[in-house]
Amino acid sequence: MTAAAAPTRTAFSAKGSLTLTLMRLRTFIALFAVLLFFAFAAPNFLSAANLVLMSKHVALNAFLAIGMTFVIITGGIDLSVGSIVGLCGMVAGGLILHGLDLDFGYTIFFNIPEIILITMALGMLIGLINGLLITKLNVAPFIATLGTLYVARGAALLLSDGATFPNLEGNPAFGTTGYAFLGAGHLLYLPVAIWALVVIALVAAYLARWTPLGRHIFAVGGNERAAALSGVAVNKVKLFVYMFSGFCAAIVGLIVSSELMAAHPATGETFELNAIAAAVLGGTSMSGGRGTISGTVIGAFVIGILSDGLVMMGVSSFWQMVIKGVVIIAAVVVDQAQRKLQQRVALQQIAQAA
């Protein structure tokens, strides 16, 4: 029966499936479109130096967007990532400059690897708090993470009374030198940040595709009740995604402060919105259950290239915002159109098979 049905299906859907394939590949097409456009419109756009620089910009958003993708796939949202970026940068900077001041006259200085681990743990801790608020106390994800957005930002400002921690060169006596490696170091011709992104993206993609946990994340977002009745530990899955999102934000906090060799408490404001935009542009459904890591990374590149390219063209930043908004809305409109078309093609196939 399958053999008989196959030729009719291909013959019938030739027209519908061409449109459908184009729509499925829309993020790729958008990526090539912006690349091509700026290659002609912006001078020096395709130079190696510029591409590496842009990738570094993109990487920051891509980290957050990868964490955000898992959260959104479970049907949640994480608004706190931008503030976590700021707080983690401040904590890392504070530990390098001033160490941990114990009230009875001693101060502990950690070395750089320890500081990195502490900062990552802090990011995961804030994610854990988000997750506990959402699972145990039944706070809606939007509200819970909105709350931690303010708390974390406030804490970042309190750490220095709003001032910047400058000159994170460290002191050789305390083993706190070498922080610049994260943001400015290179391995095999590429910045460390890019390698970190490659590793995180591959791990996240593997997680989504090949592990029970990844499958459970999709199941929780697709139908939480059915997932729970299938034995999926829904609360643990949710705790994981918020902790992972916090972890990604901590990495961004480290990289940003390392690049600047300074920690500013307002770092990361509105980063969460760029991360959501990248995830949505990459095909992640805000209603949960759908999304891919590769799509999100491409989405982050489209947004990043768009803003960098427009800067190089000398377009005003006000117009940049308008253009970014239009692109995001267009992406979702095409996404909806694709779903509808896909459904229609599927129904027609069923009708033809019958």
Binding site: T2, A5, W210, T211, P212, R215, H216, F218, A219, G221, G222, N223, R225, A226, A227, A228, L229, S230, G231, V232, A233, S285, G289, R290, A346, I350
Partner: protein, 531 residues
Amino acid sequence: MSDRATSDPAVSDAADAEDVILRLEGVSKVYSGTVALKQTNFEIRRGAVNVLVGENGAGKSTMMKIIAGVESQTTGRILLEGNAVRFDSPSDSMRAGIGMVFQELNLFGNLSVAENIFANREIVKNGRIDHAEQERRAGELMARLQTNVDPRANIEDLMIGQQQLVEIAKAMARDARILIMDEPTSALSAPEVEILFRVIADLKAKGVAIVYISHRLEELLRIGDYITVLRDGRVTGSQAMKNVDLHWIVRQMIGSDAKDFSTAGAHEFGPEVFRAEDICLPRVTGGFAVDHVSLNVRAGEILGVYGLMGAGRSEFLECVIGRHAHSLGRVYVEGRLVRERDVGGRIARGLALIPEDRQRDGLVSVLSVAENLTLASLRKLAIFFHIHIPAAAEARAVRREVADLSIKVADPSLPVSSLSGGNQQKIVIGKALLTQPKVLLMDEPSRGIDIGAKGDVFRIMRELAAEGLGIVFVTSDLDEVLALSDRIAVMSRGRLTALFDRSEASGARIVAASALGHEVQAVVSAREVHS
């Protein structure tokens, strides 16, 4: 009420014809794959209580939805006072003077009683809603129903019985010529039922035609004037109530023609594989949804659990699988106490549930056929400390279930939502089987699937039992429970009211047991109301 027969208008045929306000002629309703109503005729008479009975799934609700304009018939016609009409939407039907009290309450929990009663028909004065007038009229209706519910109270703050009264008041407020009541007493206490019956008598005297649907047969005998029985989408009997008795109703409901059940293979039962002791599930509104239920099943045995809607059967299965954290009682698998409280832990101990509502509880519609099948058994499949899912092993497991359960799917990577109801049900069963359960809990496994798929599901159940699984299945279908079960448990109002061996079970005994406890409960809640 005892003078029902004498107060009726003459029941001679000639007088009948004039009394009929609405008539369905040869009405059929086909959903994709299933026929819900087959060439049904139904008459609704003025100033009388027209009773409609049948098992769950017999087509009562479909018929009422057609009359109320929620669905439209596939074939046949509706005659309103002799003229053919067509109801394309609920508002068409409302304009024709038809009101309906829905079984599942259609109220806005966040609005007040008065706002609910006048929803979409707000009383407007000077372009603004006249809340005072609405509340006054709502108060009058509440007084007519002899309840002291405050018209300004929010619906969600009311007890379920009070909500049902509001639903009734809402229908009364429309001054309907035809009033359809679908299980209006399911949440009412005995005194409230008495009040409702008085209101019905009152409406009847005003010439309102009432359609009354209920599972409580005694109730029907008391207030009904005419009775129509539905079975499997057909009308099996239509009579004046005074000509019939309880036995006649049960006989028409159950019928005698056999359905497609594969025959029982003779096999020995093994040792006890499952035991539930004193399972209790307290209700938020007080009382128990599952009230100290104890059951056991042996390996290879099929235990059928019969009961009406709301009898606590599904809740019992959910307690066993660990869905309700606050449930009480003990569960044993193969004689050993199950200490795990979460669903995952209980699945690991060999329990598996096939939920009643596939779409809501069984399937993740955005995932593929394969991903749905393996969802509950990923940890079993995964290697390297349960981290990696090997693609080949997963594909093998999927292929095996697709073949074993004869699931018709061209490509397991298609979304599960592209399958028909019967095949979707098989996916849910396959998902449970992949966890290698020792006890299978099946909640209405044949609900909403066509005849052919039903036959498949029943065959699968038999085969699994023959392989030594213990099966507990819940159904509202008498034929099903009689044909498939080795033993039959009957539940009513959260309690286990009877346990029959296959040899001693009969339709009449099961129906009788399923109505038990309703009176007792009514007395208890009456006492609660007064104290």
